[in-house]
């Protein structure tokens, strides 16, 4: 990777040069974070919807826990996953520590509470609006879940993006469980930390700008898709 004194020039040079090392890091970052978002969404969307639709003992505890876990420090999540996946830990036999899979697991733990808690809020709101009509049509509660999830899809897109933002910006957890291994588990954020520690501040900031650009791009595309659809569907 090349360096100049101006981080913006550096960022531009990095992008323009299509540096293969950088591309590898970017690809891995996206792969890890998108996989984590996908898995977390598959779990958290139904969970959030279920919490919105059913009243059961312990529901309050789950909601408070989820809300609290939204603020879970990434380092703590990382440390927990590290201790679980470590050879001396309960899941050590799978040998997942210092692999991208470990990073995905840590990110899932970080963003699942966010997606679940925000989904619950969105679905609860929509349920308030739809409740009488759906009951009038004879829709059972289990059936309301996919109906509400689908009809809330545009708000939920924003929710999922919030998860993606946290996943891709996170460094504390992936550093611990991934190990920042060159070419294997080095992602944008850990590369930024490494370059900062080398005193390559312009390069570090340049990488930061590339990351910011990526997150912006993903958000802009999602926003555009969402807004267009929202305007069309009312």
């Amino acid at each position: 990777m090349t360096t100049s004194d101006n981080p913006f020039t550096t960022a531009l040079a990095l992008i323009a040069g299509m540096d293969p090392v950088l591309l590898g890091i970017v690809a891995l970052s996206l792969q890890v974070s998108l996989t984590a978002v996908l898995i977390a969404s598959l779990l958290a969307l139904p969970l959030g919807a279920a919490l919105a639709l059913w009243r059961f003992p312990g529901r309050g505890v789950i909601i408070v826990t989820l809300n609290a876990l939204m603020g879970l420090p990434p380092v703590v999540a990382g440390l927990t996953v590290y201790l679980l996946l470590s050879r001396a830990g309960p899941l050590g036999q799978f040998g997942l520590l210092f692999t991208p899979t470990a990073m995905v697991i840590a990110q899932v733990i970080l963003i699942l509470p966010i997606i679940a808690a925000l989904t619950r809020q969105q679905i609860e709101e929509l349920h308030g609006e739809y409740h009488d009509q759906l009951r009038s049509l004879g829709v059972s509660r289990p059936r309301m879940m996919p109906t509400l999830l689908w009809d809330a899809r545009f708000s939920l897109l924003t929710v999922v993006l919030a998860g993606f933002g946290r996943a891709s910006a996170e460094v504390g957890a992936v550093m611990i469980v991934g190990g920042n291994i060159d070419g294997v588990t080095r992602v944008m954020t850990t590369a930024i930390v490494l370059e900062t520690s080398k005193g390559n501040l312009p390069l570090a900031l340049g990488l930061g700008l590339v990351l910011l650009g990526l997150v912006l791009l993903v958000n802009a595309v999602a926003h555009l898709v969402g807004e267009t659809a929202r305007r069309r569907l009312g």
Binding site: T3, S86, R87, A88, L91, L97, D182, G199
Partner: protein
């Protein structure tokens, strides 16, 4: 019954890793090492030569020496390359490592602001230099992270008969690079390994003020993890790495590594 959940979990995890995330090459070892070796670029220079010869790739997890020991103790690394001879010998004595060998030395240097307010540049010994810093209570940035460098710094204070403390002595709890960044920001003295210092790109007012005392030599050792304690590790491959580091070829690779025209590490495995 007790095996079923773990089998399900194994399947789920296998599916997860099957999502194209794990790199395919099977012949690799995980090497726990220190930030100084990684940040200097040494590994970028020597590992490709090892891989080319043996087909084994080396995945470096660069952390502080304390954390590196912990990773190895838990069985999460196949090999260990650190610079804390006392700690390494304890590690062997406790039975975690089967073997330890000297690999190379580099040296610690004292970095400080251009103006050298404590006047250490012409000190006779490192102990003298440390005493002068403490006397004028010039700002001093300590790693404070139980790393090899931090442990070395503590030994140097002890040898100088100084018990550091007070507002001028700032324990940062950071790696070498972040500590240098912080020291540059507050014009503080700091002890660094030479490799990280030479590779460091953000010195601002900092400059190398004192070096050369034998007490500043920094010995790196390679450890072979005990195979009985962690049978799952890739001991065969790790052993090849360990032997290669100590071989004439490995030692030459280390000697040939230069940064900004300076050799940074001096192989000394063959000297024994």
């Amino acid at each position: 019954m007790s095996q079923r959940p773990s089998a399900t979990l194994a399947l789920a995890l296998a599916a997860l890793s099957g999502a194209g995330l794990s790199q395919a090459d099977d012949d690799y070892i995980v090497l726990a090492s220190t930030t100084s070796t990684e940040a200097s670029g040494l590994f970028d220079a020597i590992i490709p030569r090892f891989t080319e010869k043996t087909g084994i790739s080396v995945r470096v997890v660069a952390v502080g020496t304390g954390q590196a020991f912990e990773i190895a103790r838990r069985g999460d690394a196949d090999s260990l390359l650190v610079h804390d001879t006392d700690g390494e010998e304890t590690f062997v004595a406790e039975g975690y490592a089967a073997e330890r060998a000297d690999v190379m030395v580099n040296d610690f240097v004292i970095i400080g602001p251009d103006g050298d307010p404590a006047g250490i540049a012409d000190a006779e010994s490192v102990a003298e230099a440390m005493r002068r810093i403490a006397e004028v209570e010039a700002p001093f940035a300590s790693r404070g992270d139980d790393s090899g460098t931090h442990r070395a710094e503590q030994r140097l204070w002890e040898a100088a008969g100084v018990e550091p403390g007070g507002a001028w002595y700032r324990e940062l709890g950071s790696g070498m690079g972040p500590t240098l960044n912080t020291a540059a920001g507050m014009d503080a003295y700091v002890i660094s390994d030479r490799a990280t210092w030479v590779a460091f790109a953000n010195p601002q007012n900092l400059t190398l003020l004192f070096a050369g005392d034998e007490a500043l030599f920094n010995q790196y050792g390679s450890l072979l993890i005990d195979s009985a304690r962690h049978p799952h590790l890739r001991h065969d491959l790790a052993q090849q790495w360990h032997r290669w580091l100590l071989s004439a070829e490995g030692q030459r690779a280390i000697a040939e590594f230069e940064m900004k025209g300076q050799p940074l590490f001096f192989p000394n495995a063959l000297a024994d």
